[in-house]
């Protein structure tokens, strides 16, 4: 029981990170029907920017942790959003009228380019960050020595995810921008005829997705303490899987899919074998898609972005 609880906590933490990245996939898919394969790299760049900010602040002698974290998250979100905007502008927008596969191919190209760019400029070796937030809450301390603990870092990740998810859901459902996004998602031509600036709406969608990925990247950095140029690929594929599992195009679906993938992976590692955790995650994806081809929440009537 204690072991199960501990795995549950770990799984939810991992699932939160996947969910935040998955939102970027699902939002972009919803609005332009394209899989942005470079999104995983956006996440990776977000974590590198966060690390750079951390080191920069340390060099300046700023070590008050809450302030450091706040600056990290703000700078990472802004810079990564700029990356997302630029990628859309240079690699996807010129191909918007083109055939369906063209943006897919540029997306893969952009992904490889960004990976190699970071590898060349930052080096291929892993970048460590000493643990900044230690300790946690001990929830259960049984006699046989198994301790159920939720670390402060895990609490931060989960709380941050819940806050961001709520904020973004509100933006989508309540603001004018969210309405525009939903309108573009349903009928881009008609939206443009009603005076919605479709190009700007799409750009803003990339910006929103990228800033969420930046937060995920920063939390990954703080949680695992090591990053390299390749983390975006694995995390990206997992998050994409999460988006498909939850029903691509559906915002709550992405979050649910992220949690599901995170939990499957953690429980499989905990009870069976660490080596086969990815096999488990993808097998379950395959099984779910056989029985629910549009994913867990991906019905066309579901509110999507």
């Amino acid at each position: 029981m204690e072991y199960f609880l501990q795995q549950l906590i770990n799984g939810v933490t991992l699932g939160s990170i996947y969910g935040l990245i998955a939102i970027g996939y699902t939002m972009v898919y919803g609005i332009i029907g394209m899989i942005n394969f470079a999104h995983g790299e956006i996440f990776m760049i977000g974590s590198f920017i966060a690390l750079a900010v951390f080191l920069g602040l340390a060099a300046l002698g700023i070590t008050f942790l809450p302030l450091v974290l706040l600056i990290m998250v703000i700078v990472a979100m802004i810079c990564t959003a700029a990356w997302g905007w630029t990628i859309e502008r240079v690699a996807y927008r010129p191909l918007r009228g083109s055939f369906r596969l063209a943006p897919l191919i540029t997306a893969i190209g952009m992904s490889i380019f960004l990976q190699n760019f970071v590898q060349v400029t930052q080096g291929a070796r892993v970048k460590p960050l000493p643990p900044q937030i230690q300790g946690g809450l001990i929830l259960m301390d049984s006699h046989d020595g198994i301790v159920v603990q939720i670390s402060w870092m895990q609490i931060i990740i989960i709380v941050m995810t819940v806050v961001l998810m709520t904020a973004f859901s509100l933006i989508i459902s309540k603001t004018s921008l969210g309405r525009q996004q939903r309108a573009c998602e349903q009928d881009r031509k008609m939206a443009s005829l009603l005076g919605v600036n479709v190009d700007r709406t799409i750009s803003l969608t990339f910006v929103m997705g990228a800033s969420l990925a930046a937060v995920a990247g920063m939390m990954y950095l703080l949680y695992y303490g090591v990053i390299d140029f390749y983390i975006g690929f694995i995390a990206g594929v997992k998050a994409f899987t999460a988006a498909v599992l939850g029903g691509i195009g559906s915002l709550p679906g992405a979050m649910l899919g992220g949690l599901a993938i995170g939990l499957i992976e953690t429980f499989w590692s905990g009870y069976f074998s660490v080596e086969y955790k990815d096999v488990a995650a993808f097998s379950i994806l395959a099984i779910v898609l056989i029985f629910l081809p549009s994913g867990l929440l991906g019905r066309p009537e579901v509110e999507k972005v």
């Binding site: 603001t175 004018s176 939903r182 349903q186 939206a191 919605v196 803003l204």
Partner: protein, 319 residues
Amino acid sequence: MLKQNRNWSADPVLSVEHLTMRFGGLVAVDDLSFDVGRGDITALIGPNGAGKTTVFNCVTGFYKPTEGRIALRRDGSVTPEALAELTRSGRQYAEGDKGSIFLLERMADFKITEVAGVARTFQNIRLFGGMTVLENLLVAQHNELMRASGYTIGGLLGLPGYRRAAEAAKETAVEWLRRVNLLDRADDPAADLPYGAQRRLEIARALCTNPVLLCLDEPAAGLNPRESAELNTLLKYIRDDHGVSVLLIEHDMGVVMEISDHIIVLDYGKKISDGTAPEVRSDPKVIAAYLGVDDEEVEDVERDLEVKPAPTRAEGDAR
């Protein structure tokens, strides 16, 4: 009395001049010229394949015409010199205290809505089915909202300017919902409405963009007689109380004859008649086009009726 009816040549809101649209070897619209009067309900009719929707697509920027000029005048004080000057300058539009002119054939479709003020509906209904009825109307007003919200940052912070704009947008939307009898369904998904209600909502949504010219492509298609009558009332209300000029394509002659101030008849991409409802109704060319009579027979009919050939007369009217 007759002179008074010629509003479209005295004060045209839209002038289509020598419009030609070719698709490869097919000439869909052939050197077509007509005027749409300010504050009129103008109907564009003709047999299937006459090029009506093509004209619409040119006016609303879906197609770039092969040749021709489509000029929209925001108010009546525009001089022919100003129009010629703008055409020469190569710019898309000129806004000024002397009246604004827009050359629609040079503008992109969303600019035509946003800047020139032309709204349109389609033959098939294109509502945002997954959004609520109210949201459909709010999307159409988003330009103002976005400006007021400082591109959403203000909206997130709840700045007073944004809240005021949001309130105003909502009021406009509610007013239109009341007008089209959909207020009680404001929070339902648009896709759940019955067909006739969806049509009315689509017209209300187009009007929320605050247009000077509203283009409706077969608004009465698929409506039952009661719904058609409601549509007539709505269109007259739009014309009389909002001063919006309406250009519509319609096959339902009951609707066309009852509400139109001005009717233009197309056949094979050419204008065959242009005038008020009684004039068009008695035009032998129109009768021939609709009943499918040979050209020779038309000439016979014309001789019998001792009328001049319709195109000449129509051109005479336009001058």
